[in-house]
Each structure stands twice: as structure tokens, then as C-alpha cells.
């Protein structure tokens, strides 16, 4: 019998009475006596009672050694036993004569002992099941498992014990209030406010928490993905209908000051190289939203801070004659800290600025004000509350905006020199994003422009005095009407992509809750509704006029008053219930809230040739506090809601980099990559070694992170090494000049190691493009290369060899032209429009490389045939044989990587053994030796089976195909119908590859996921 089985048996039998034989009778008797309540514990009893097997052994031994236990036996019963000389005379029975008479007392005693033993056995529960499981089915009740009183009374005691045991394992649940009290509105509000203190909640948090998997990220609680299965549904919503997202977690920084001052300060942070800057004409007028990438001041192209979008307040606003402009910079929360610091440094905004606009003050003021205005409500609340809640009754208020904010910290800074004010407007506004062609019709359905006050009644008693003030001004009234007209025209547009990118439209709308439909329905575009084709065409051509971009949302005071004067849902519903005709339209008249909003068109896919304008939509900016009031009406018009995952999918199908994962050169991106690597490693380690891929065998050096630094360094040294070797091998000048360029490129692609061999191959197969180029560049190549090298060295020296991502639009355009497949006809075709561009020549490459020695390029890849790439997929350069194979067989999937040997397996085994040995040693030896033996196990902790440990070898040449870069996002693209990936490749490597590939197959690369040996062909494209 196995040990475990024995144990199990023993456990089962622990409560059963053991055999009582005469030879060991004393023990049993003793035991029995003990149970009877004699209260004399005997040391021997315990182990005797325990197991039958030990008992057996003892019975064999005891007959001979019987007198001894007899001697030290002082049990009263025993004594009595002996005196009476019962009919069974104990162990000495063999030696004794047959007793002369029988006493009933011994007989009775034996019975009594047995009864007690049996009773004990019967009363104790012997099985492992819970008490209620012992009940027959028909007697079980649902609540039995947690409510003891549901059990029959006879079982309650045992169940109580069991429940106590289980409670300790469970999480302690605070029960200071009963369920009803916890659900009561004020207590819930308290609880919600408490929970918001750590992570910021969006206004739609409760709505999201019921329907989404929530994650705590970037200091916010955000919905990651819907709990319903909706990947494809969300994609369809993006493409054909409307997807709604709450982007209120995006941060807004406000800059106020003179236009020239702001522009001058900000010009240090961006470069005209990367596209339009803050000073772009359309953006500066306030007509359009702009987007750009920010760098640390004067550090371009290194030290990226992150991508931002910005809007200027339109110039034509009444009472803005001083040239004071307002600029909002919207950015991702991960980038906020760096950018805010840099902005403060650039604008020299050092002094904390306190004013009426200052947010912390206004927050406090507003809360106080609100508590005053809502005094009657508070009183009612107080009555119901218990006394101990009385003190904290005052702060019970719904937290609107940033709950984690420390009121002592400044959120506004002013520069004494330039007068620029920087405001941190995080969580001061809501930003909803509607993606998809139906987003315009949903907007026009859900929002109704505010009615203009006629101005007869006195403005004092109406809460919305700002609106009545504005209505007195004929200018603003006419502006409002123009905005209204344009907004109505929007309903006739099929897709938001038709409008110029980044168009801004300001609006003042009425309360969207009032015309909430009875039932959810799907809003559709209604072209018949808008008959005015002419004005629509004009709108599409010219865009929204600058004046119409004006909105009252720019004014903090108005926003504040709008937030404060919101009619609560409860009041609104009460009024609705008091309507004479149930279900009829509620008319509030002047008491209806007017909300200033800003609509910003989001251009969808702006790069590349196919699917232009995919994923375009509208962003709606709302003052805080109004989030849910707009959210529900949007959903009632048929918008589907997506979470963070849908944001990623959206940016992936748009082929745009995702923030912050796809910015490996900004601090947030680095942090993100580290975190991701940590999580993936943890996940990997959770599986047993046999059930997880062995990345060493698969030849994947870095399955969880992308070693960009090493990749670029490797490529640099690779190119240099080949150049040096070629120079050394060929002394004569002119020929070396020729080879200097040929050799490295051809040899890298063929991956031969011996210099002599390289020379031979380069002479034997000069690629046809090279031939052309070399004839051209023979003359100037030498000096230019030297210059390039010098420049590169300078760069390396100055920046410490930091990697950067190529964002110069000119260079990217050039690269994208080179990347395309170029048969003779098409080459002419695509060259024609871009006459000014250079051909793919050595010196062009070298000049680029000189400026960006260690650069990465953002590329998009689409697979030719099968395969769906995943993140961290390797992008490799195909060899010539691969091309031959592809040429021969159009259906070939791609080459296979041969299996690598696991160098670390033996090491791990050895260390395991060593550890074992050491363990044995340390167990025996003194502590001094144990101290020495502690070192190796610590080292061994780093070794994980299936992962490369220690510093990585040369990443580029580790596998049979030369590594070019990594994929950061990749999946099967439902938009393209094939696997698509986005990632970065080394610029040096890319240029190398392009130079060496035959023109017909230029731009083909191989993709290999980290968990597979199969390479697959993909086409590389750079979209600008």
C-alpha cells in the first residue's frame, strides 16, 4: 500500500473505535475510562488508540511483557478490577486459574466503555464533505452554504464550526452597514468618492463598470474591453456605423498669452521637419485642429516627448483685442508629466499662479457654492442619516472631475517675463470620440442647438445668465444661427471624412436629455432631410468658416456655471413625470440648460493609398459634469461603445502609431515596453517549462521586448566592419572605392563570414541597380562618404548614440518611394509626380545615414499570403534563394528557420544538481559554508528555461535570416483582409536591404513570430 493511500485510510478511520482485545485490554479500558469522564489522561493512551497496525504489533509483544504495564498501572478501575478478580482477569489470565465467580460490575463496565466508544464514533463526522452535503437532496436549500439558519437545527452547530473555518479564508467583508444602508444614496456617494481618491474615475465610470472589464491604468479607471464578445461588432461599428469612446482621460494643457510669445516658445519644441507646427495657418486661425510631435527644446531629432493635438481659440471673439490667445494642447496622460515640465521650462513659467480661473480654487468654491444651493436637499439627507455621519455630511458631494487632485498643488503657472499662463485642465472637460460614418447623423440627432432667449423676462432669476447675456448681443446671436445652420447641414453628409481634416465647430446646445428617445434606435443618414445641395458642397469645399469655431467652452467661468447649474437627473425625471400628457416633450423654456460644446473632426486614415478616411469621426468636448447627460443620448441613437482595446484596434487599422506603445524613443514608450516585458515574462513563467515555447530553441532572443538600441548598434557596427575589412583587403584606391560600397551590402545579404569570399561574390554578382549607381557615384562617393561618416560620428558623439525614430517627412517620403516595388513601367509612373526626388543611390543613403546613424523607421507590413503576425514578430531580410523560391512557386509559404540548440539546458541542469548538492551540504555543514553556497542559487534565479539569459549576442545575425526590426502591433486585419503588422525597422538595415534587392522584389521582407520557425513573406511600406 502506498504511503498516501495509507494516510488516507488512517484519516478515514481516525474516529472509529479500535479493536479491543484482551491482551491490550488495559489500554482500551483506559481509553474507555477516559471517555467516560474519568479525566485522567494517560500518556500511553494516545498512541495506542491511534492506529490499528501499531496495535497489532503491540498485541504480539505484550503478552510476554504484561506484568510491567501492570506494575505501573494505577488506574482506579484497574485496581477495582483486580480486587474483584473479575471473570476476565486481564492479561495475566493465562497464568491464572479460572475465576470462581462472575461479577456483573465488570460486565457492566465493559458495556459502558463500549457504549461510550461507539457514541464517540457515531457523533463525530468522518467524511470530508460539508455538513449540508450530508443532507438528502430534497432537504437542501439554496442559502444553506452561507446561512446557517437554513439548515436543520441539529446540524447548525457543526455548520457553524465549518463556516468559521471558511470565513478565515475568505476576504474580510466590511459589514459596518447593512445592505440597505450601503445602497442608500448618500452612503453610496461617500463610498464612490472614497474609491475615486486613488484612481481618477471618468464620469461614465459607473456605466462602464457595469459593462466593461475595467483596468487601472495611468492613474485612471478605464474600461478595457466590453464584457460581451464584440471584437467584430466593434469593427463593423467603426466601418459602417458608429463607435463611441470616452476619451476624457486625455489631458488638456492650456496656454494663454501673446501669440508671438507662445509661438516663439513652442517653436523650440517642434521641428518643421516633422510636418506642420503650431504656427500652421489653418490651425493658428482656430479653424482646424493640428497634430504634431513634441521634442525636448532644441533636441530634435532626439529626446522625443510625444505626439499631441492642439487647437487654438479662434481669433474673432468679442472682447479679445489684446492679442491674447488661448491654446489647448491635448495629450495622452502618460506623456503629460514630461511635456508639462518641458512646457514650463520653455515658457519660463515658474510661479504658481492663483486667480479666479485657477482650478483648485474654483473647485473648492464651486463645491461650497453647490452645497449652499443644495441646502434643502442636504437637510433631508441629514435627517435620515445617523449621527456619526453628521460631521461628514457637508463634503458629501459627487466628485466631478479629478478626484485625486491635491488642492494644495498648483495647477496654473505664470511666467513673469512673457506673461504666458499655463493651465492644467485635466479632467475639466469631457472628450467623447465618435468614430464611423454615422457619427455625424448621431450628433445631429442627439444634439439640438439651444434656443435663443428673446430677452423679455428678467435675467436675474434664470440660472443661465451667461446665455441671456450673449443673446443680447446681436453679433453672437447671428453667429449662433450660422453655427446652427452649419450643424444642420452636417446631417446631409455621408461620412465625416468628407469634411476637411481637423475642422472645428463650436456650438451651444440644449439639454440632450430632454429629447431622449423612448427607445434605443439606430440613427441613419437622411439625405432627403437636407435638400440644400449647394450649401453642402460649399461646406465640403471651404470647410467651416473660422467664426463658427467659436464656442463658449473656452471660457472657464461659463463652463463652471454650466456645470453648477445642471438640473439633476432626479429633478428632470420628476418634472417629466409631472407632465400632463405622459411621454410628451418636456419644455423647460429659459430654465433649460445651455451647454457650450466643441466638435472636432478627426481625420481617419490619412496615410497610404487605400482606405483613405477610414475611421474618421468627431470628437465632442463638453464641460465637466455633463458626461452622462450626453453619453446616454448618443447610445440611444445607436452608437456602440468601445474601450481601450478598440482604441488600439482603431489605430492599428488606421496604421497609425498607438500611444504610448509605438513611441520607443519617448520616456513613456520605454516605460510601457518595460512594463509589457515584465507582464509577459510573468505570464510565461507561470507555465511549466514543458508547456511553454523554448525561445532559445526557436532562435528568439527577445520574445518580450524589442531591443532597439542593440538592433541599431549592431547594424551600425555591421556596416562599419564590412567597410573596414574591404578597405584593408584592397589597397589600390579606385577599386577600393568601388568595393567599399558594394561589399558590405552584398555580403550582409548573403551572410558570408570570410572577407575573401565576400570579395569574390561581390565581383561575381554585381546587382544590377548597383551597377547603375556606381557608375554615377564613382567620382563623388569617396569624399561624400567621408563627410557622412564624420557627421555621423559627430552625431554619435553628441548624443551618446541614442536611438531616434525617423520622423522627417521629406526623408520618409523618399524612403516610401524607394520601398515600393519598381518594375520599369511603374517606376516611371510613380516617379513622375515626384520629380524632385532622388533615385535610390549610395550617396543618398549615406547622406541619410549620416544624419540619422541610429534611427528607426515606422513601417507597415502586409502579408502576401498566409499568416497573422503578433507583437514582437521579427522582421528579417530574405536571401536570394528565398526570392528564387518565391519566384518559382507562388504558393510557397516561406522558408523555415532551423531549430537552434539550447545552450542553457545543460547549464540549468548542472545548476540544479549543484543546488541540490549544496543543499545537502549546507544541511550538514555549518552556517559559514552555507554563506558561501548562497551565491550560485542567486545566480541561478536569473536562468529561466526557454529564455536567453545573460547579455544578448548580436541580434541581427543570430538566425539564418538577418534581422531588420520588430513588429509592435500585428494582427489579422479585418479592414484589409490579410495579416497586417506595424513596427519599426533599423534605417541602416532598411537602406542596406533596399540597395541589395532586385528592383522587382524590392520591399519584400520575411516575418517570423517569436513562437514559430516559419518565415512568411510580407511587403514593407512606409506611409507618410
Amino acid at each position: 500500500m502506498s504511503n498516501a493511500k495509507e494516510r488516507k485510510h488512517a484519516k478515514k478511520m481516525r474516529n472509529q473505535p479500535t479493536n479491543v482485545t484482551l491482551s491490550s485490554g488495559f489500554a482500551a479500558d483506559r481509553g474507555g475510562k477516559h471517555h467516560n469522564g474519568g479525566g485522567k489522561p494517560f500518556p500511553a493512551q494516545k498512541h495506542e488508540l491511534h492506529s490499528g497496525t501499531s496495535r497489532q504489533r503491540q498485541t504480539k509483544i505484550t503478552p510476554h511483557s504484561l506484568p510491567e504495564p501492570d506494575g505501573n498501572e494505577q488506574s482506579s478501575s484497574k485496581v477495582m478490577f483486580r480486587k474483584k478478580g473479575g471473570w476476565k482477569a486481564g492479561p495475566e489470565g493465562t497464568a491464572q486459574e479460572i475465576p470462581k465467580y462472575i461479577t456483573a460490575s465488570t460486565f457492566a463496565q465493559a458495556r459502558a466503555a463500549e457504549i461510550s466508544a461507539m457514541l464517540k464514533a457515531v457523533t463525530q463526522k468522518s467524511s470530508n464533505s460539508l455538513v449540508f452535503q450530508t443532507l438528502p437532496r430534497h432537504m437542501r436549500r439554496r442559502a444553506m452554504s452561507h446561512n446557517v439558519k437554513r439548515l436543520p437545527r441539529r446540524l447548525q452547530e457543526i455548520a457553524q464550526k465549518e463556516a468559521e473555518k471558511a470565513v478565515h479564508q475568505k476576504k474580510e467583508h466590511s459589514k459596518n452597514k447593512c445592505h440597505k444602508a450601503r445602497r442608500c444614496h448618500i452612503n453610496r456617494m461617500l463610498e464612490f468618492n472614497r474609491r475615486q481618491r486613488k484612481n481618477i474615475w471618468l464620469e461614465t465610470h459607473i456605466w462602464h463598470a457595469k459593462r466593461f472589464h475595467m483596468v487601472k491604468r495611468w492613474g485612471y479607471c478605464l474600461g478595457e474591453r466590453p464584457t460581451v464578445k464584440s471584437h467584430r461588432a466593434c469593427y463593423r461599428a467603426m466601418t459602417h456605423r458608429c463607435l463611441l469612446q470616452d476619451l476624457s482621460y486625455y489631458c488638456c494643457l492650456e496656454l494663454k498669452g501673446k501669440e508671438e510669445e507662445i509661438l516663439q516658445a513652442l517653436s523650440q519644441m517642434c521641428s518643421i521637419d516633422t510636418g506642420l507646427t503650431f504656427a500652421a495657418v489653418h490651425c493658428l486661425s482656430g479653424k482646424r485642429q493640428g497634430r504634431l510631435v513634441l521634442y525636448r527644446a532644441n533636441k530634435y531629432p532626439r529626446e522625443l516627448l510625444g505626439p499631441v493635438t492642439f487647437i487654438w481659440k479662434s481669433q474673432r471673439t468679442p472682447g479679445d483685442t489684446l492679442g491674447i490667445r488661448q491654446l489647448w494642447i491635448w495629450l495622452h496622460p502618460t506623456l503629460k508629466q514630461d511635456i508639462l515640465e518641458e512646457l514650463k521650462a520653455v515658457c519660463q513659467c515658474t510661479d504658481p499662479f492663483k486667480s479666479a480661473i485657477c482650478i483648485p480654487d474654483s473647485l473648492l468654491v464651486s463645491s461650497q457654492e453647490k452645497s449652499q444651493t443644495e441646502l434643502p436637499d442636504e437637510k433631508i439627507g441629514k435627517k435620515r442619516k445617523r449621527k456619526d455621519d453628521g460631521e461628514n455630511a457637508k463634503p458629501i458631494k459627487k466628485v466631478i472631475g479629478d478626484g485625486t487632485r491635491d488642492p494644495c498643488l498648483p495647477y496654473s503657472w505664470i511666467s513673469p517675463a512673457t506673461g504666458i499662463i499655463i493651465n492644467d485642465l485635466t479632467m475639466e472637460m469631457n472628450r467623447f470620440r465618435l468614430i464611423g460614418p454615422l457619427s455625424t447623423s448621431i450628433l445631429t440627432e442627439a444634439l439640438k442647438t439651444a434656443s435663443v432667449h428673446t430677452g423679455e423676462e428678467d435675467t436675474e432669476k434664470i440660472p443661465h445668465c451667461w446665455w441671456s447675456e450673449a443673446c443680447k448681443n446681436p453679433d453672437s446671436v447671428s453667429l449662433h444661427h450660422r453655427q446652427q445652420a452649419i450643424f444642420e447641414l452636417l446631417g446631409g453628409i455621408a461620412s465625416p471624412a468628407e469634411i476637411p481634416a481637423g475642422t472645428i465647430l463650436g456650438l451651444t446646445v440644449g439639454d440632450p436629455r430632454i429629447n431622449l428617445p423612448q427607445k434605443k434606435f439606430k440613427a441613419l443618414t437622411n439625405p432627403e432631410k437636407c435638400q440644400d445641395k449647394e450649401s453642402i458642397r460649399q461646406l465640403l469645399l471651404e470647410g467651416v468658416p473660422v467664426e463658427c469655431a467659436h464656442s463658449f467652452i473656452w471660457n472657464q467661468d461659463i463652463c463652471k456655471s454650466v456645470t453648477e447649474n445642471k438640473i439633476s437627473d432626479q429633478d428632470l425625471n420628476r418634472m417629466r413625470s409631472e407632465l400632463l400628457v405622459p411621454g410628451s416633450q418636456l419644455i423647460l423654456g429659459p430654465h433649460e440648460s445651455k451647454i457650450p460644446v466643441l466638435l472636432i473632426q478627426q481625420p481617419g486614415k490619412v496615410t497610404g493609398e487605400d482606405r483613405r478616411g477610414w475611421g474618421s469621426g468627431w470628437d465632442v468636448l463638453l464641460p465637466k459634469g455633463w458626461g452622462m447627460a450626453f453619453w446616454i443620448p448618443f447610445i440611444y441613437r445607436g452608437a456602440r461603445v468601445g474601450g481601450l482595446k478598440e482604441t488600439v484596434v482603431h489605430s492599428q487599422y488606421k496604421r497609425s502609431p498607438n500611444i504610448p506603445g509605438d513611441f520607443p524613443d519617448c520616456p513613456a514608450g520605454i516605460l510601457f515596453a518595460e512594463e509589457q516585458a515584465k507582464n509577459l515574462l510573468e505570464k510565461y513563467k507561470r507555465r511549466p517549462p514543458a508547456k511553454r515555447p523554448n525561445y532559445v530553441k526557436l532562435g528568439t532572443l527577445a520574445p518580450f521586448c524589442c531591443p532597439w538600441e542593440q538592433l541599431t548598434q549592431d547594424w551600425e557596427s555591421r556596416v562599419q566592419a564590412h567597410e573596414d575589412s574591404s578597405e584593408a583587403s584592397s589597397p589600390n584606391g579606385k577599386e577600393s572605392d568601388l568595393r567599399r560600397h558594394e561589399v558590405p551590402y552584398t555580403s550582409t545579404s548573403e551572410k558570408t563570414s570570410q572577407p575573401s569570399d565576400e570579395l569574390g561574390t561581390s565581383r561575381n554578382h554585381p546587382g544590377e541597380p548597383e551597377e547603375v549607381m556606381d557608375t554615377e557615384c564613382q567620382g563623388q562617393a569617396g569624399p561624400e562618404r567621408v563627410v557622412g561618416q564624420e557627421v555621423s560620428e559627430n552625431h554619435v558623439a553628441s548624443t551618446g548614440g541614442q536611438l531616434c525614430v525617423l520622423r522627417s517627412r521629406i526623408l520618409l517620403k523618399q524612403l516610401s518611394a524607394w520601398c515600393g516595388p519598381s518594375s520599369e513601367n511603374s517606376r516611371a509612373a510613380w516617379r513622375a509626380p515626384s520629380r524632385g526626388q532622388q533615385g535610390l543611390t549610395r550617396e543618398a543613403c549615406l547622406s541619410i545615414l549620416g544624419r540619422f546613424p541610429r534611427a528607426l523607421v515606422w513601417v507597415s507590413l502586409s502579408l502576401l499570403r498566409k499568416g497573422s503576425p503578433e507583437p514582437h514578430t521579427m522582421i528579417c531580410i530574405p536571401t536570394e534563394e528565398d526570392f528564387l523560391q518565391l519566384h518559382k512557386d507562388r504558393h510557397c509559404c516561406g522558408p523555415q528557420e532551423s531549430k537552434h540548440s539550447d545552450l542553457f539546458k545543460s547549464k540549468i541542469l548542472k545548476q540544479k544538481e549543484k543546488k541540490k548538492k549544496e543543499k545537502r551540504q549546507t544541511r550538514g555543514c555549518a552556517a559559514s559554508e552555507g554563506l558561501a553556497g548562497r551565491d550560485p542559487p542567486a545566480r541561478q534565479g536569473a536562468l529561466t528555461q526557454g529564455l536567453w539569459s545573460g547579455p544578448l549576442p548580436r541580434v541581427t545575425s543570430h538566425c539564418s535570416r538577418v534581422l531588420l526590426g520588430f513588429v509592435t502591433q500585428g494582427d489579422f486585419s479585418m479592414a484589409a483582409g490579410c495579416g497586417e503588422a506595424l513596427g519599426f525597422v533599423s534605417l541602416t538595415g532598411l537602406l542596406n536591404m533596399l540597395c541589395n534587392q532586385p528592383a522587382a522584389q524590392r520591399g519584400l521582407v520575411l516575418l517570423r513570430p517569436p513562437t514559430s520557425l516559419q518565415y512568411r513573406f510580407a511587403r514593407i511600406a512606409i506611409e507618410v
Binding site: H35, P99, F107, A112, V122, T123
Partner: protein
């Protein structure tokens, strides 16, 4: 529940010779019963009963024995028990016989029955007792067992439901 179903025979060993009890041992007893079955029911009977046969409990003082066998063949064991007329141990033969008190499906029911039975026996003993001293002693033991019963009386009652879970082999 899916399990091997057993029958437990609660028997009392009656013997005039006190030395017979002395040599009572579960191995001896098991052998004796097996032999008897083989004698009475032949090889088939012996084989049929040998599966799952065990002596579960044995008390030499009271002569209570609990035998276990498979439910299908318990009648073979049962019918063989009257044929045991003597107990043989170490060359000695002690005449005795088995008195089957109860046949139960679980150990627990047998134990419960045994409690009842013993209690009844004690009361009978008390009633028939003539000697004053002995009467006192018996009384003491009776009260002792009853006291214990009171302590755990409720729990004992509760065991009715637990039979289902009782999966003793």
C-alpha cells in the same frame, strides 16, 4: 452514490470459557470465519466471500465482533456463522458460538444499534441484580454512559442524515 455496497454483521461471541475471549484476535477470527465458509459453502462460497471480507471491530471484553462483507454474498457469511462451534488458538479449542445481533449497511448504523443494545443489556442487568454492591457499580456505569449520551445526545440525533455520506469500506 457510486460505491461498493457492503453488509456489516454485528455479532456477539458467546462462550462459557473465559479463556476463549483471551485468545480473541481479529486474525484468528477472520481465519475461523473463512474456514467455516469454505467448509459450508465450498470453494465458491469461500471465494465469493473473501472479496471485501474483514473484521472491522472486535471487543474481547464484551465479545462484540463486527464483520464486513460484500452485499451480494453476505447471506453466505451469515448462514455460515451458526456453524462456528469452537475457537481454535494455539492448540487450544474453546467451544463457543456466534449470535448475530444486527445486519447493517454502514458501520454507523451498526454502532448505533450497538449503543441501544448495550444500554438495554445494562438495564436488564440492573433489574436482575441482587447484590447491593454490584448494583451500585452497575448503576454507576449506567449513569456514566447516560451522562455521556446527554452531552452528545443532540449530536447523536443528528447522525441520521449522515448515513448517506457514510462510505466506509
Amino acid at each position: 452514490m457510486v460505491r461498493f455496497k457492503h453488509r456489516y454483521l454485528l455479532c456477539e461471541l458467546m462462550s462459557d470459557d473465559p479463556r476463549c475471549r483471551l485468545s480473541l484476535d481479529d486474525r484468528v477470527l477472520g481465519g475461523l470465519v473463512r474456514d467455516t465458509i469454505a467448509r459450508v459453502h465450498g470453494t465458491f462460497g469461500a471465494a465469493a466471500c473473501s472479496i471485501g471480507f474483514a473484521v472491522r471491530y472486535l471487543n474481547a471484553y464484551t465479545g462484540i465482533v463486527l464483520l464486513r462483507c460484500r452485499k451480494e454474498f453476505y447471506q453466505l457469511v451469515w448462514s455460515a456463522l451458526p456453524f462456528i462451534t469452537y475457537l481454535e488458538n494455539k492448540g487450544h479449542r474453546y467451544p463457543c458460538f456466534f449470535n448475530t445481533l444486527y445486519v447493517g449497511g454502514t458501520i454507523r448504523t451498526c454502532q448505533k444499534f450497538l449503543i441501544q443494545y448495550n444500554r438495554r443489556q445494562l438495564l436488564i442487568l440492573l433489574q436482575n441484580c441482587t447484590d447491593e454492591g454490584e448494583r451500585e457499580a452497575i448503576q454507576k456505569s449506567v449513569t456514566r454512559s447516560c451522562l455521556l449520551e446527554e452531552e452528545s445526545g443532540e449530536e447523536e440525533l443528528s447522525d441520521g442524515g449522515e448515513e448517506a455520506a457514510e462510505a466506509m469500506e
